[in-house]
Point group: C2
Chain length 163, copies 2
């Protein structure tokens, strides 16, 4: 199962260090240095997870959060910042972030938050599919029961057709 992550940060060294932490764990990682680039990438590929720094060059990370949420409502969004504030934390809740990490963050904590978010995202997709399969099966059973009650048998099922 693919585990696609987009990381958005205006600092290339940070992008590289997160990529180096995530890729050995089996994640497929894209990066973006600006909100504009991030939006283009989100339109092109349904990421499971977006990790967004709150201070970007072109816009506030919370504004980008809102845009990513609109393009990819089912993706999980992790906000990350070296400048935590009540305001940007409240914005993060209200704009549908799934996690808020304060820098500096140690690699183990970072991987734990990413793994939990990814698990929840894949589980939510899976639940939708299971619900679909459940419905299909119950409709199929019901249709078959109804058909066996009312439908005349085709020639291949009549006793003399078998012999």
């Amino acid at each position: 199962m693919e585990k696609n992550i987009l990381i958005v940060d205006d600092d290339r060294r940070i992008l590289k260090s997160f990529k180096d932490i995530l890729e050995p764990e089996g994640y497929s990682v894209d990066t973006a240095e600006t909100a504009l680039e991030a939006v283009e990438k989100c339109r092109a590929r349904p990421y499971n997870l977006a990790i967004i720094d709150i201070k970007l060059r072109d816009v506030d990370g919370t504004d980008l959060l809102a845009q990513v949420h609109e393009i990819l409502p089912r993706a999980r969004k992790i906000m990350i910042t070296g400048y935590p504030s009540l305001e940007n934390a409240v914005d993060s809740v209200n704009l549908q972030a799934d996690a808020y990490i304060i820098k500096p963050v140690n690699p183990d904590t970072f991987l734990k938050v990413v793994a939990e978010s990814m698990d929840k995202q894949l589980e939510a997709e899976q639940m939708t599919e299971d619900k679909v399969v459940g419905w299909v099966e119950s409709r199929y059973d019901e249709t078959r029961r109804n058909r066996s009650k009312r439908k005349p048998m085709g020639p291949e099922l009549l006793p003399n057709a078998e012999e």
Copy 2:
């Protein structure tokens, strides 16, 4: 369509005032004064929305948020507080709150946040159902096409059976 809301606050006057704002708008409102009572009610009824005050008598509202999220993962959760802090805002993000409102809140703003959260909740349920219906229909069409290719016609479809 039912729009069920649970409000949790240890102040009865606040519960009554929120109830008085919400019920005329067509919401069905239950209240709880403690986290314990809230958990019992969530187990008994699948609320669309829970509105949780962050200061409760028995536990922190953010702890209750985590419990409500576990019992009712698809319900929307709105945190409300007269004591906003970076810590409880960050906890609210990380424990999957959908909104964070700072008291005092005027009734119009409150109703707007509730209406938006309710719309998103109902839309998410609807999307799941639409996806189910879409799958059922496409599987049905495919099954019918396959059947018409391989299955001999039953007597009711033979030309002489029609006349």
